[in-house]
């Protein structure tokens, strides 16, 4: 009897080992990789240095991304009202991935994907042949829903911003809501390299004084055009072939504003040699008719507001969508006595 029990135990252990070590295979015979869910993963957009005329936006440790596709595992394109395997009627298949194996080439930062288990509802890459289009928006905190047959991202460029004053441009971090978007159509079995472009614009100002020591109070960037600078917009990813690379307009805005402002910390002083620099973020649309307005206090205690139209050769400067405008050489002129309030 003891021998029989021993044999049964050994057989059970062998079965358990066989089961746990088995590599699950996909119907096409290729191995499916499962890795542990990365608990506590966070995503945020951050500048990470520069290369030539590009700002590097590097992936961060513990980053994760969510990739969508309208094709199910049978290669069938679903619609927003169809039920996907997790029981929802979202209509798009998705899976979450952790990032690993980071490498930088010029201004492009690349990472490999590792599947984060469970956070998936049937996204497929290669099973059905033909082509599949993948979409992704980063960070994962950007709300995604569906509108009609479109995959819609609800993106917010904050109306209230800090300017991250005097933070070196390459070190600006924790920009929690600024999005990157990617889209790629791939043939079955091909390598997929989703390329993420900024879906926001940036304005970096360098400001000094042309009139001795001036204490800065506030700064405002505004536009007289029809465009908005900040607010919430809806990006119908599947309807937009350019994905903001060329500055496509958003389909709808709400709570949008034509001006963005920051307050300087008390005691922020500029003079002819000492500048202050800061960065403001804007919607991914072409912007022109831009004016800056600065409220400041002179050495004699007078508080003033002065403005400057952002023009070159007497023409409004057009700031392209998704770019970073680095505006240097601004020398605040406090004006004559007649400007005193």
């Amino acid at each position: 009897m003891k021998r029989l029990i021993t044999i049964l135990m050994l057989a059970s252990i062998s079965l358990m080992m066989l089961t746990s070590c088995e590599t699950p295979l996909h119907p096409d015979g290729r191995a499916v990789k499962f890795t542990a869910r990365s608990n506590g993963a966070s995503t945020k957009t951050a500048y990470s240095g520069e290369d030539g005329s590009y700002a590097i936006i590097a992936w961060q440790e513990n980053d994760k991304i969510r990739i969508f596709s309208p094709k199910n595992a049978d290669g069938v394109i679903t619609g927003p009202s169809e039920t996907v395997p997790d029981g929802s009627t979202f209509g798009y298949y998705f899976a979450d991935y952790g990032l690993t194996d980071f490498r930088l080439s010029g201004h492009e930062h690349t990472a490999s994907l590792k599947l984060a288990e469970n956070n998936a509802n049937g996204l497929t890459w290669t099973t059905a042949g033909g082509t599949t289009t993948f979409y992704s928006i980063y960070p994962t905190s950007v709300p995604i829903n569906s509108s009609g047959s479109n995959l819609r991202a609800v993106v917010t460029i904050p109306n209230a911003q800090s300017g991250q004053i005097n933070v070196a441009p390459g070190n600006i971090t924790a920009i929690s809501s600024l999005p990157l978007v990617a889209k790629q159509t791939a043939n079955s079995g091909d390598a997929v390299n989703l390329r993420f472009n900024p879906a926001f614009s940036a304005f970096e100002f360098h400001l000094k004084s042309a009139s001795g020591a001036l204490t800065l109070n506030s700064f405002e960037l505004s536009t007289a055009s029809d465009a908005y600078i900040t607010g919430t917009y809806y990006d119908d990813l599947t309807a937009d072939d350019n994905m903001y690379v060329t500055g496509a307009a958003s389909t709808q805005e709400e709570n949008c504003r034509k001006a963005v402002s920051i307050n300087f910390p008390s005691g922020t002083v500029i003079n002819e040699s000492q500048e202050v620099f800061f960065t403001l973020f804007a919607l991914p649309v072409d912007l022109d008719q831009m004016t800056i307005k600065i409220n400041f206090t002179t050495a004699s205690g007078n508080t003033k507001s002065r403005s400057l139209a952002l023009k070159q050769n007497s023409q409004w400067i057009n700031f392209p969508a998704t770019h970073k405008a680095r505006i240097t050489g601004l020398a605040l002129d406090e004006g004559g006595e007649s400007w005193k309030l």
Partner: protein
């Protein structure tokens, strides 16, 4: 007389379903998949140059 030979392709792993706690996981094969952040183009505007506007104005 011609003799026909019939071959049958072995059916291996044709019907494999992947389940975990009743939820179908993604049939994801990610071996060759990467994500690349392409960076952001920087345009320089040097307002110390004479072509740029220097006419500061009073503002409300």
């Amino acid at each position: 007389m011609t003799q026909k030979l019939r071959y049958a392709t072995p059916i291996i792993l044709r019907e494999v379903n992947l389940h975990t706690e009743g939820t179908l996981l993604a049939g994801s094969v990610v071996d060759n998949s990467n994500v690349t952040s392409v960076g952001q183009k920087i345009d320089e505007y040097d307002f110390s140059q004479t072509t740029f506007n220097h006419d500061w104005e009073n503002a409300n």
